[in-house]
């Protein structure tokens, strides 16, 4: 049996891609990914049309996809996140069908349930053997975890592995194994290593960011959750990383031994593991080289599938055991609903990722955001679109105080006891408006650009064009 196919074109033919096919990609190579463009260019040159692309996330390196949309090669997009460059194109209305936004937990759940079936999964693998056993931990394009690719590999009718480090069978350090793989293609490069770690954010030095970060760490301490067994996830934003640094200081000083750190993993979380703040890291995606190095060498730094990370259909997922998650927001309204899909001008520039999954799972879901960004208040009457329901958000941390969801009076009381400045969210809105002036509200058009599908499969909101 030989799974190795000489060219990508041949693999596309053998896998049976045709007009209307539903194909999928993972985003572990982030903004350095070559594979999605490589496959789409080949499919376009073969003359296929009406392709549905299900990608766990899309970055600006995938801008050629916009041309494939304009030419009718791609007519449907299913994703969990898209960055601003490609989001701007979608916001211009180049795609007739609304984009289907899911969450990192909802995506694999819907693939497994057959809501979003995949005909062919194209899986970029930094190392693969000739039978398709693969890993992201080694190779010149190493990206660490391959967490988001598991559901695709398990459920797609055909699986094509694309690697730039083809090794003899059997690859001992495998994450997804050969039992799922139909074809293996070797190419010169699956990605640009500089872009693969482009998500890395340095800890903020902005004084406002540092005030918020310190406040967030104080809130965690005052919440009563910071004790032995503590579990934690943080995003890779500058202020949330700074909060993790302050939290690490508290944990080391008080000798608190946490259980696990979770999510997209950065070098800062690796430091917390190595310094004894956590027993293990549960890693669905590596954000930087330090995380890649750690997952390769440290047995306590473990790779998990997107299902294990966040699926609402899993018998249990890591997010269900989370104590605290620190998240960002482009807007939050007075009902604590959060928008992470568009900027304040209504242009698509993001997506849920694991935002609403972790908010739903964690005992304490915290948003860190400044009162305003570039003259636009962050706290509003109504978010432009709802990415994460306010019922799952507990606390908003700003530089002017902390607002607690009124549904959590006991938490507000505990924070006040702990010396935290707790304020009404309406006060924060007023403070922001006083600083910025009253912005002229956006008027929604009648064109639906995207559906926001909540992790349980229900339609949470829709993103409309701006008139």
């Amino acid at each position: 049996m030989d799974k190795v196919v000489k060219t990508l074109r041949e693999a596309i033919q053998l896998a049976g891609v045709k007009d209307g096919s539903r194909i999928s990609f993972h985003h572990h190579l982030r903004n350095g990914d070559y594979v999605l463009n490589m496959v789409m260019d080949e499919i376009a040159s073969m003359g296929y049309k009406d392709i549905s692309v299900n990608a766990s996330s899309l970055f600006d390196c995938h801008l050629p996809l916009a041309d494939h949309i304009r030419s009718g090669v791609v007519t449907e997009l299913i994703t969990d996140y898209m960055s601003g460059g490609i989001g701007a194109q979608i916001s211009e209305g180049i795609l007739e069908k609304p984009v289907q936004f899911r969450t990192h937990g909802g995506r694999p759940a819907d693939i497994i349930k057959g809501v979003t079936p995949i005909d062919v999964a194209f899986i970029a693998a930094p190392t693969a053997d000739t039978m398709g056993n693969m890993t992201g931990k080694i190779g010149k394009s190493a990206c660490g975890s391959l967490g988001y690719a598991f559901a695709d590999a398990m459920c797609a009718k055909k699986v094509v592995v694309i690697t730039d480090n083809l090794v003899p069978h059997p690859l001992a350090m495998r994450s997804i194994d050969e039992t799922y793989v139909d074809y293996v293609v070797a190419v010169d490069a699956i990605g640009n290593p500089a872009g693969i770690v482009s998500g890395t954010t340095k800890i903020t030095r902005d004084p406002v960011g540092l005030v918020m970060a310190q406040t967030a760490a104080n809130v965690i301490q005052a919440s009563g959750l910071l004790k032995d067994g503590f579990s934690f996830q943080t995003g890779a934003g500058g202020a949330t990383l700074a909060a993790a640094q302050f939290l690490k200081g508290i944990m080391l000083k008080e000798g608190i031994k946490g259980s696990f750190g979770c999510g997209g993993i950065t070098g800062y979380m690796v430091d917390m593991l190595n310094e004894g703040c956590f027993q293990s890291l549960i890693d669905v995606q590596c954000f930087d080289l330090k995380a890649v190095e750690s997952i390769r060498t440290n047995p306590n730094h473990t790779e998990v599938s997107a299902m294990h990370y966040a699926s609402p259909d899993a018998k249990s997922a890591a997010v269900d055991s989370l104590d605290v998650v620190l998240l960002g927001a482009t807007e939050i309204d007075t009902d604590f609903n959060v928008n992470v899909h568009t900027n304040s001008s209504g242009k698509i520039m993001g997506g849920s990722g694991g935002h609403s999954d972790t908010a739903a799972g964690a005992k304490l879901a915290m948003i860190i955001a400044p009162l305003s960004r570039a003259r636009l208040p962050i706290v509003t009457d109504h978010v432009f679109c709802k990415s994460t329901p306010g019922s799952t958000i507990d606390v908003l941390v700003t530089q002017k105080g902390v607002a607690v969801n009124p549904a959590r009076p006991e938490l507000a009381a505990r924070l006040k006891e702990g010396g935290i400045k707790v304020v009404d969210i309406f006060e924060l809105k007023e403070a922001a408006e006083k600083l910025c002036g009253m912005p002229k509200p956006l008027v929604k058009g009648d064109r639906v650009l995207a559906d926001i599908i909540y992790r349980d499969g229900t339609l949470l909101d829709r993103i409309y064009n701006v008139r």
């Binding site: 001008s345 570039a374 003259r375 600083l435 912005p439 956006l442």
Partner: protein, 93 residues
């Protein structure tokens, strides 16, 4: 009334604005590019027109590249711009 010369001030940093002022034959032209055009464009143009009028300045072209500056920042930048335009005029007249 002092002569005005071409002047500029500000930066392209987020939450700041970059501005240029230049004398022209007749009238006041305000050219605004703003990241918050939809939300604050009209009020920024009105602010600039008001300040120029208060300072008795006409016959200028004003270009503003706004990166989401607060109103107080815009006022301060405009004040500096006008002072520089007058200084330049005085020094080189």
């Amino acid at each position: 009334m002092s002569t005005l010369k071409k002047a500029s001030c500000g930066t392209m940093e987020s939450s700041d604005a970059y501005m240029e002022l230049e004398p022209i034959a007749a009238g006041v032209q305000i050219d605004l590019q703003s990241v918050v055009e939809h939300q604050f464009g009209d009020s920024i143009r009105a602010l600039a027109a008001d300040m120029l009028q208060q300072e008795g300045i006409d016959n200028v072209s004003l270009r503003i590249v706004d990166r989401g500056a607060l109103e107080c920042t815009l006022r301060a930048r405009l004040e500096t711009l006008i002072a520089r335009a007058r200084e330049a005029g005085g020094a080189n007249a």
